[in-house]
């Protein structure tokens, strides 16, 4: 594709060029007013101080007289020639009055300066014709000292279309430039050192091998090294550092745990969850297939452009492939119905679940609104995820800071206008893990049966009363469904024979009878995916399984408009599908409409995906490289990885980012290559310490120079996974149905409102090996976070997470010390130590190696031995109570219609045959004492942080 940044498209007619100006000699004051001050007043002031009805403070800024005179306070606002004495200026500076009143609208110093200069020049206000002439003159120059023009498809007004950008604000829209790196320099170090040298610093020395080993392990796998791996690496390092380090990185990149760790990063951005959120929090029954697809993609080092293309348009790839493979007229329709796809096609289809990741539940929203909610979400998510561009604000107006007109938003939106959600049949792939299908299915069947039995009891009671009612009146009995249509006096009252409790229960059990069959869908060869087709305004798309509408009108065309202010009913200009014009990367060589996509039902989304994954797409390519960098260093080069726009942070090392990006694209979009390049740099291998640290931190408090490696706290998943790894409980089985770890039982059994009812209680998986798998496989319900993970900043899946928080709050200490989960892990760890070593000293030593990868020093050993001995004394005096898991619970709920409270029983059959972790009451006092020590290790900062 041709890169057109330098080519001027006549997108907006530049018809004024060559016109004779109406002014003879340009007057600088007038020019300043026409070009700067008036647009500023329009943008920032007229909304409240215009000539409209709702004039604030009686101050009208739309005429010179009004502007000078001031408002109802009676004070003169502007004295021509005397900016310092003008009330307006002090208000703009927020000295006295504070105008404009919103933080977001506050004027920059430069803008205030324009106003001051203009007042200084006598506050001239030429007539409209002259203003127009000045502006047209200005628009003819691409680059001025005020900034550059950016060609776009055009804003809602000329003001926006011809506004100027500072070069540094549109850095991300510029083509990637690969700067030269001298031979034998490591490119990363070359750029980082150059900047450090500018500030008279050098890189910190290379870190200690054990520290580096742990850093690399967590970075690439999210797990700690084993004691064996530690000693092995330290030996290898002693012999040949470089070789040891290189082969360590290769080994870790080849580990299947790599995909689990880096897949998690992707799922954070994509907002993965196993449910849909909002009122019903419906199951996304087959989302796990997408999760596994992501993990596989990382492990296979799938080129990123393929990865993106498949997620955005895998269904189109599959359709095209079917069309080629099966040359019958209706082959695509047949395949969609039957799900008869080959493996490659199936994989592509699974990838499209990306387009279903957002929270969505359109129950009680009208179909057109639901459709808009969905499409807005997809547009915004695609922008953030792949292009590091915030689109949400462009829904209602041209972008305030970036060269993205609202027209482009609706072009983008139109690219998805034929994208329809559907639960599609797609056969399981051989690489998809079907472990525990039978037992999980059996569990769901039991729950469904329970619900049916309970519902039938109440139904029977109601129908008995109904029969009596009919019999009394000598009318023919009709069942609940059949009597619906009868007139009110010919049928018994609703809920006849039921008291408030019965009514409440009836509703809950009916809801359960509806919920559990949906959970059976998890075992079906199905995906939450999309397909291209027509809108069906009559379909109620919210609650039921969404099916492909087979009967398609091939003539159908979605009507796409700019929705003014984002309102469905306010249709503005009609638009065709298209891409972001401000990037200057055309879709096609047709110069009159270079940014438009095909407008056929099929093909528009695929063409968009191809544009996004074009080698020249500077946003996409920088976006992923910047994210990769961030996960290695804890901070990105451009520190807002979801926002490369003018308000996002500017790159600290723009040339480095561009170099890595160019290298990435030249070498086939391979992510593992970027890891290797980064991790072999001295920058990555730096110590976290250096002798002149204080001086460096003073000069560079935010570590923008990268002169030291920043420590980080383990993520929520890393904490849980590491605990299991250290205790030896971790089951490395990969993929498949979501697992259900034991979560805080109070939360698991706590009632959770969903529409009409309470959600069924959370029941953990019955066997330890089912529970003790990596956290990425844990069942993720939007309405019920695992409190442990949430406490350690697992992000809310309703919003794309560009970078995790790691704030320390006191409830973390409570949970790490007191929770059942931590208690169970510490006992398991103690048991492991006792199994593996016979006496206390070797046990402590082993514990240190497993948890920290080192020997305890003598003082530590002595203290801890003393501690364990004291604890043995303590535990010999105490008999812990046994732990019982409830096999049923009584729940109370206020019936939402009648407001009356009622109770009902919920069975928890999992606990009837539950293989619990070892509890304190089941182990000896010595084990409990050792577990106390283990708990300390797990609580220690040394365990929690990576350096």
């Amino acid at each position: 594709m041709l890169h057109c940044n330098k080519v001027i498209f006549v997108v907006v007619p530049l018809c004024f060029l060559g016109m004779t100006p109406v002014f003879a000699e340009p007057n600088p004051g007038e020019e300043l007013f026409a070009i700067k001050v008036l647009p500023l007043l329009k943008q920032k002031c007229f909304q409240c101080h215009g000539s409209g009805e709702d004039l604030k403070g009686g101050y009208d800024l739309t005429t010179r007289m009004g502007l000078l005179k001031g408002g109802e306070s009676g004070e003169v606002s502007v004295i021509p020639g005397k900016p310092m004495e003008s009330l307006l200026v002090s208000a703009l500076k927020w000295e006295g009055y504070e105008m404009p009143p919103k933080e977001n609208d506050r004027l920059s110093e430069q803008q205030i300066n324009w106003v001051e200069k203009w007042i200084q020049a006598g506050a001239p206000w030429p007539d409209a014709e002259i203003i127009a002439a000045y502006r047209k003159k200005a628009w003819g120059e691409r680059v001025t000292k005020e900034g550059v023009l950016v060609d776009t498809s055009g804003g809602l007004d000329d003001e926006w279309t011809y506004r100027r950008y500072q070069a540094e604000d549109i850095w991300a829209f510029q083509p990637v430039v690969k700067y030269e790196v001298p031979d034998r320099s490591h490119p990363v170090d070359y750029f980082v050192q150059a900047k450090l040298h500018d500030h008279d610093f050098e890189l910190a020395p290379i870190g200690d091998p054990k520290v580096l080993l742990r850093r690399a392990y967590y970075d690439l796998t999210g797990l700690p090294p084993t004691p064996f791996e530690t000693s092995q690496f330290v030996n290898a390092w002693r012999e040949n550092r470089q070789q040891a380090w290189n082969s360590l990185i290769d080994k870790l990149l080849a580990s299947p745990h790599y995909g689990e760790r880096w897949g998690q990063h992707w799922l954070d951005v994509a907002r993965y969850a196993d449910s849909g959120g909002y009122s019903n929090d419906y199951e996304r029954s087959n989302a796990w297939r997408y999760r596994d697809y992501v993990i596989r993609a990382f492990n296979e080092d799938k080129p990123y452009n393929r990865f993106v293309l498949e997620q955005l348009a895998g269904d189109e790839l599959a359709d095209n492939s079917v069309r080629e493979r099966v040359p019958q007229a209706n082959s695509v329709t047949t395949a969609r119905r039957s799900g008869s796809y080959n493996q490659q096609e199936a994989e592509w289809l699974v990838a499209t679940s990306f387009l279903r990741m957002g929270p969505f539940d359109n129950a009680m929203v009208l179909a057109p609104q639901a459709r808009q909610i969905y499409l807005d979400d997809v547009v915004n998510s695609v922008g953030q995820t792949f292009l590091s561009t915030t689109m949400r604000c462009v829904k209602c107006h041209d972008h305030k800071f970036d060269p993205i007109p609202t027209r482009d938003y609706y072009r983008f939106y139109a690219a998805f206008a034929t994208t329809q959600m559907a639960e599609r049949p797609v056969a399981f792939l051989p690489q998809e893990n079907q472990i525990n299908f039978e037992s999980e299915q059996a569990h769901v069947a039991v729950m469904l049966k329970n619900a049916e039995t309970q519902r039938n009891i109440v139904y029977h009671k109601q129908e008995t009363a109904a029969q009596a009612w009919f019999a009394e009146r000598e009318l023919e009995y009709k069942d609940e469904g059949a009597r619906q249509k009868l007139p009110d006096d010919k049928k018994p009252p609703r809920h006849v024979g039921l008291n408030a409790t019965d009514k409440g229960r009836y509703k809950v059990y009916k809801q359960d009878v509806w919920i559990w069959p949906r959970r059976q869908e998890r075992f079906q060869p199905m995906i939450q995916g999309v397909y291209n087709g027509m809108d069906d305004p009559f379909r109620y798309p919210g609650s039921r399984k969404l099916r492909i509408i087979e009967k398609q009108d091939s003539q159908w065309q979605p009507a796409s408009f700019i929705l003014t202010g984002g309102a469905l009913e306010a249709q503005g200009d009609s638009v065709e599908p298209g891409v972001l014009s401000g990037l200057g990367l055309p879709v096609r060589s047709d110069l009159s409409n270079p940014y438009l996509l095909p407008n056929s039902i099929n093909g528009r989304r695929l063409a968009l995906a191809k544009w996004i994954t074009d080698d020249q797409n500077a946003l996409t390519t920088r976006s992923i490289v910047n994210r990769i960098w961030q996960y290695h260093f804890g901070q990105a080069i451009a520190r807002n990885p979801n926002n490369f726009g003018g308000k996002g942070a500017k790159p600290t090392h723009p040339r480095l980012l561009d170099y890595l990006t160019a290298d990435f694209v030249e070498n086939g979009w391979r992510i593992k290559r970027v890891h290797k390049l980064i991790m072999t740099s001295a920058t990555y291998m730096q110590s976290g310490q250096r002798s002149d640290l204080e001086k460096l931190q003073q000069a560079d408090p935010n570590n923008e120079l990268l002169g030291v490696f920043q420590p980080r706290r383990l993520t929520a998943e890393e904490i849980r996974d590491s605990l299991l790894a250290v205790t030896g409980e971790l089951n490395p089985e990969m993929g498949g149905l979501p697992i259900r770890p034991e979560i805080n039982m109070e939360v698991a059994l706590q009632p959770r409102m969903i529409q009409f009812s309470l959600a069924p209680a959370y029941q953990p998986s019955p066997e330890p090996e089912m529970r003790n798998r990596r956290t990425i496989y844990a069942y993720r319900v939007r309405g019920q976070a695992d409190p442990f993970l949430e406490l350690f900043n697992q992000p809310n899946p309703n919003d794309s997470c560009e970078l995790r928080d790691s704030l320390t709050v006191s409830p973390q200490a409570l949970t790490l010390l007191n929770s059942d989960m931590m208690t169970d892990r510490s006992i398991a760890f103690a048991q492991r130590l006792i199994d593996e070593r016979e006496t206390l000293e070797p046990q402590i030593k082993r514990a240190f190696w497993l948890a920290y990868g080192r020997d305890p020093v003598k003082s530590e050993m002595n203290r801890l031995k003393k501690y364990v001995n004291e604890m043995q004394e303590y535990h010999r005096q105490v008999t812990p109570g046994s732990v019982k898991y409830p096999t049923e619970i009584t729940r109370s709920l206020v019936e939402e219609l009648s407001g009356e409270p009622f109770n009902y029983l919920e069975k928890l059959p999992v606990f009837e045959n539950y293989n619990a972790d070892a509890k304190a009451s089941e182990v000896a006092a010595e084990t409990r004492a050792l577990a106390d020590l283990c708990l300390l290790l797990f609580n220690s900062s040394e365990f929690m942080y990576v350096y």
Binding site: N643, E746, T808, L814, N818, D932
Partner: protein
Amino acid sequence: MNTTKLNPNRRDFLFGLSASLGSVALTDMLQAQDSLGPLTPQKPMHEPKAKACIMLFMEGGPSQIDTFDPKPKLNELHKSESKSTAGLAGGFRFYVGSPFKFRKTGQSGMEMSDQWQFMADPEVADELCNYRGCQAESLNHPEALFHMNTGSRLGADPAIGSWATYGLGSVNQNLPGYVVMTELAAPQGGARNWSNGFLPAHYQGTRLRPQGSPVLDLQPQSFKDRKHQRRALDELAEMNRRHARLHPEHKDLEARIENYELAFRMQMSVPQVMDLSGETLKTQQMYGMHNSETAVFGRQCLMARRLVESGVRFVQIFAGGWDSHDYLERGHTSRIKAVDQPMAALIKDLKARGMLDNTLVVWTGEFGRTPDNNRRGGVYSFGRGHNVDAMTMLFAGGGVKKGTIVGGTDEIGATAVENVHPIRDVHVTLLHLLGLDDNKLTYFHGGRYKQLSQFGGEVIQEMIG
């Protein structure tokens, strides 16, 4: 308040959902720091009317027509066909008259349905400001709940209580600045209703759980006593101090050590504030704690007073069951009964203690209800649908105009027609009363300064006393 905390300072790590109990060590640390910690009291932006806010959230959407906004016209139309197209339900619709009688109460003549017994006490009624002009946007419970609680329907933004604590800090460092109480079941949308969103985690609402442990994992395992825990903490502190000595470059480590001490002290402070045994029997009875119908909400209202008394900035109580699509009379009777006495007691109690002037009490749902209904299960069902165009809210204390009705709805209560404002203006007004300016209470996130109202709003002046 345009703080961009890229690198949170060390103090940030100290304060969690709960903070210090005023230990000497901590006070020293505070003084040693040059910048303010996240929950340290902040100066309001202007002279505040209220120092704290108690928000009573009636989940499900109470009916304006059957509580505080009488519509006699509806009784004339009862069971006649309605052509309204508001809401979602299709099919035959009919008007539903209120099953309750109305009367004017107090000197000010506040209108209330006769179900309100305690609120009708002139001593309470004359403190009220009834606002009838608010319009919501979302017909669906969780989105509407998110909207009322966070200013956004998406469920990812900071709650109003988070904004208030972000703006004002907390007077008492021993307790969280923002406390939430719910029924056993969390409301629809769950913790997103009191989440800190993009604000730092210190500002999230702390839910005091109604059963079991008020804060998860607050107490040690049953086989470990407090001495055992103290011993473990001492040993842990030793380990962590050694580690911190080896990593002088790592600034979070000291804070982490102190954090364990805070947690240890929380184990005392939280049960203390929840222990109502120090309250007189008379007080407990005034709140209705002796009566099973009012016991839960009564206890929570009394707790709310205690929390505000101890300096908590924002307290929210969620009380559900207001979604009367059917059985309106029974449903609203029972819901009103559950909250009437406790609410009235709260207002009276605050007043008696001289706290009402600077404590804002808010009573609201996520939306109102329709004057008509559709047939359910094939029969006339006397209930009401969701209504975003009209609702009713009560305010008391905290600088609102007493004994007034602000705004109004049309003659059947279908839509607000007078002094109509969107939810964001109610939010702006709430912040205003607390001494905060929504336009300046901003946080830089995702490329712009964000604020509770999203894009600004206006103070509803008529409500201000």
